[in-house]
């Protein structure tokens, strides 16, 4: 672990972290500010929602959960927060080491007197720190929004804590998956199409598997591993799926180290 690399990585990402964190906080706040109006007219809402077919509601995660409850409404918002978190973590993962090659600084970096393991350690830790800042901002904005808008309604704190605690595993999943994909392809030209495809693709798959019918899409998409509706309803994680998710993360991280240590770094002439 090299403090210089860590600090440099952290600093270059700081702006992006601030923008993502603020956008997430604002999004949660704005979405939740609708809650008082939304829940006080439950009848009108049920009427409005019934305009949509159940399959469509299920696709948006509005099927089983009572949207007029504090956490029911929050779990609906949380899905969208997850989309943003996935794209952010995917961005950092895809860019973690590939950015050196696109910006032609890779040979400069590996010629420094630090091992590749150390480079990877510092970079991963810096990315994880950045993601944790965003994570904390989401926690804070969640509690602030809920307390401002919940009025006299009560909610189950345990379920909410469980839901928020899932963020860190979720972020690590996309970080390590992005990292390993970026090391498997020959060259990452631009990070965003990759992370957008990974984040949005998995979200759409999850939305799709809400429709009934035969499919095991739950297994592939991380959004189903941490389905907010499930966590709120059962006050527990879907343990096998979460374990699967964590296992994928660990395998990806190990593979990323192995791949990076052996990677052929192109020299810039």
């Amino acid at each position: 672990m090299s403090a210089t690399i860590y600090l440099h990585e952290f600093r270059t990402r700081l702006r992006s972290v601030i923008v993502w964190s603020l956008s997430l906080a604002v999004m949660i706040f704005i979405f939740y500010s609708i809650f008082p109006a939304f829940s006080s007219q439950a009848a009108a809402i049920n009427d409005a929602l019934s305009k949509f077919p159940p399959a469509l509601l299920a696709a948006f995660g509005m099927g089983q959960v009572d949207m007029s409850s504090v956490l029911g409404f929050y779990s609906f918002i949380f899905l969208f927060a997850q989309v943003c978190l996935a794209i952010q973590a995917g961005n950092y993962g895809f860019g973690l080491v590939s950015v050196e090659e696109t910006e032609l600084t890779a040979d400069f970096l590996v010629s420094k007197p630090v091992s590749r393991m150390q480079i990877m350690d510092s970079k991963l830790l810096a990315a994880f720190t950045s993601l944790t800042i965003t994570n904390l901002v989401v926690w804070a904005s969640t509690f602030i929004s809920i307390h401002l808008f919940k009025g006299s309604r009560t909610y189950d704190l345990n379920a909410l804590l469980l839901l928020l605690a899932s963020i860190v595993i979720f972020q690590l999943f996309f970080l390590s998956l992005g990292l390993v994909i970026s090391l498997l392809v020959r060259r990452v030209r631009s990070v965003t199409p990759y992370s957008l495809a990974l984040g949005f693709g998995m979200y759409l798959l999850a939305a799709f598997s809400g429709l009934e019918g035969v499919s095991n899409l739950e297994l592939i998409t991380a959004f189903k591993h941490f389905d907010p509706n499930y966590i709120i309803q059962h006050q527990a994680y879907d343990t096998p799926l979460v374990l699967l998710n964590a296992a994928v993360t660990v395998v990806c991280l190990v593979a990323a180290y192995l791949l990076y240590v052996r990677r052929d770094i192109p020299a810039v002439s």
Partner: protein, 264 residues
Amino acid sequence: MNIFLRELKANLKSLIIWCVVIGLFILVGVAKFSAYYNNPEMLSILNSLPASVVDAMSLRAFNLTTLNGFYGIMFIYFALLGGIAATMWGSDIISKEERDKTVEFSLVLPVTRTRVLTAKALAALVNCIVLMLVSAVVSIGVAQRYNPDQSFYNFLVLEMGAMMIIELIFLAVGLLLGSSMKQYKRASSLGIAIILVTYFLSIITVLKQNLDFLKYFTPFKYFDSAQLFKDGRIEPGYLLLSLGIIVVCIFLAYRTYERRDLYI
């Protein structure tokens, strides 16, 4: 012409990936649809409702027991995938020159910047059209199993038209981002921001009635598949609005690209 062909070739891989993705999406969707098709339970619920209620709740458009209803629900996915692809193509086709450090080379060629931009925009446009055609062809292909009638084809044509317009809007926005952002990295970051914000807006408008005016800010709401199904045409007001956005964005893209200071 050379630039146009070169760009088509450079974007071919991305185009193929998007076509495969959208094709797979339709196939997975149809696999799910087969569970609903002529499902007696759902049919009996629908039949028990009075006709006026069915119309008011646009259940006919979203009636999952029919092919048309299924495609009514698929529309938002077409729109989203098309929108994302078009934004990425639009901004990337311009900003990649600076990212790959080839921009000095391409701008010293004996062609004006206007022609460069036109060739690039046309190449991206061809990609969008191909993506739309692939979704149409795959849709028609998988629909054959369910003996589609004329109304299905009419509806599909409408949906694909609406998808094309959404693609064009996002393509124009992407081109504008690519040519107006000083740093190439900002173009794609802002692209993500625009997609996420417009998508979230399209959901928020449903939640609260007095936020209805927000639907003018999100192209995903311009073409509601229930409305398309009921009216059998694209609403002219939104068509004009879309056209306005496209023209303004393209105009600004040309203007800024002509005066662009290169980021090297």
